[in-house]
Amino acid sequence: MQYMLLLYGDESGWAAMNEEETAAVFAEYGKLDEFFKSRGSEVQGAELQPTSTATTLRVRDGETLVTDGPFAETKEQLGGYFVVDCASLDEALEVAARIPAAKDGSIEVRPVMQR
């Protein structure tokens, strides 16, 4: 099964980090990358720009409405994602537990719909 792992965290904390701290976090994600490689199956993923760069769009009665900002203002923001192949939820949860963001934010684990 495919699972999407959504990384939520307080993006202001990330922005407030100094160079050294940022490097430490990158090093952790480097390790995660090695782990993904060791699993063999392909992993997609990306880090997202902060919600200050977000734009939300709606089409209502044929009219397009565009607003500045994310869909909802929340304490933790979506900061990135991975899509991984796992045999079960337990395996996906084990992968999720290795993501550095799990330590100060949270990871939402969602199975990808199969049609």
Partner: protein, 448 residues
Amino acid sequence: MTAGIAGLLARLHRHEWGRAVASLARAFGDPGLAEEMVQEAYAAALARWPEEGVPDRPAAWLHTVARNRAVDRLRRDRRYTERLAELERDASSTVAEVPSDKELLDDELAMLCACCHPALAMPARVALTLRLVAGLGTAEIARAFLVPEPTMAQRLVRAKRKLRDAGIPIEVPPPERLGERLDGVLAVLYLTFNAGYSSPAAPPAGSADVAREAIRLARLLLRLVPREPEAAGLLALMLLQHARRAARTDATGRLVLLEDQDRSRWDRRAIAEGVALVDQALRHGAGPYRLQAAVAAVHATAATAAGTDWERILALYTELLAVQPSPVVALNRAVAVAMVHGPQAGLAAVDDLAADGRLDGYHLLHAARADLLRRLGRRREAARSYARALGTTTDEAERRFLKERLAEVEERTGRARTRGRGRWGAGYDRVTNPREPLGGCACREDDP
């Protein structure tokens, strides 16, 4: 003939239903489908056996029919094309033949672990366990948890869907993960048991089966983790409480207090087994289920209510409070304090707890306080506390008991009257809410 077959099917249902569901759920990866097909197999047996005769191996017959129907269903559903091809390729697959007893036991344990998965909300875990492992009907489960049947049906549908769609594995976790999962399984089994044990004045139909099934599952779990003292402690706790079931109500269904129970009606064999288990478990240190079981063992082995070793109970609650610091445990301890050191000391302990505020809405706090005040002759204050207790519970049996007490103190205001030691709180054989484990994890929810 038909009546005999219905009886045979009822027996098979009790012993084989959960195993068949577990085995098919594992093979097909869909517990909801497995449940439906096993249900159909039982219906088919009821229709065909009276005509065709009972097959030589009825359980195997049911299993085969359920399996074939599942395969037919999958052929019609393109979502399963891949899964089906996989099953057909794999000739040694468990669907290919009727599994052995050992395999069925593994399947059942795997199903129990899946139903108790932490990715499911607690009420969903309990409901799933009762439906998929114990094979109870939706109506029975709804009654045990005091929720309307459609609410329970919906909860089950959602939970089964999550089980399947989230890919919750139907397997016993590997040894290194088993420990962290065990607490959740124990909590589910204890909630299940409590739902069956239930409010004693009006036991819902079929509630004895729920408690008995919880005991069966606790035994099953103990086979998986024989060295786990908390699993033994939980089984002991259930056995010791269940041993009193025949004495808990009188002929009219009225609640009988622990101290007034006819102890000759207690189940001695269950008590002996429970006591042996708890003694063994306590040798490996303290734990919440072990300690609660030890308290139950003190009650169960006292020859008379007056002969109860309250000092031992107080010591056990003090220990329990250390491993599980919850206000409900503290309330139980306060009651034991009163039994050992008198109502004045008990009242001081209860008042400390009341000041904390967390138990404000808990009727047993007010009932225990009322009882202590009554015994101290402070009847006006006792009446106020009984009234508060009445204002915080909707359980009919408890309300009836509290109203009688309230009438008694109001009638006797100013007149001292002593009654036997140990007329406790709302008067049950424990001061905890029957539907909450001592940790206070509520399972009597009203979610839609």
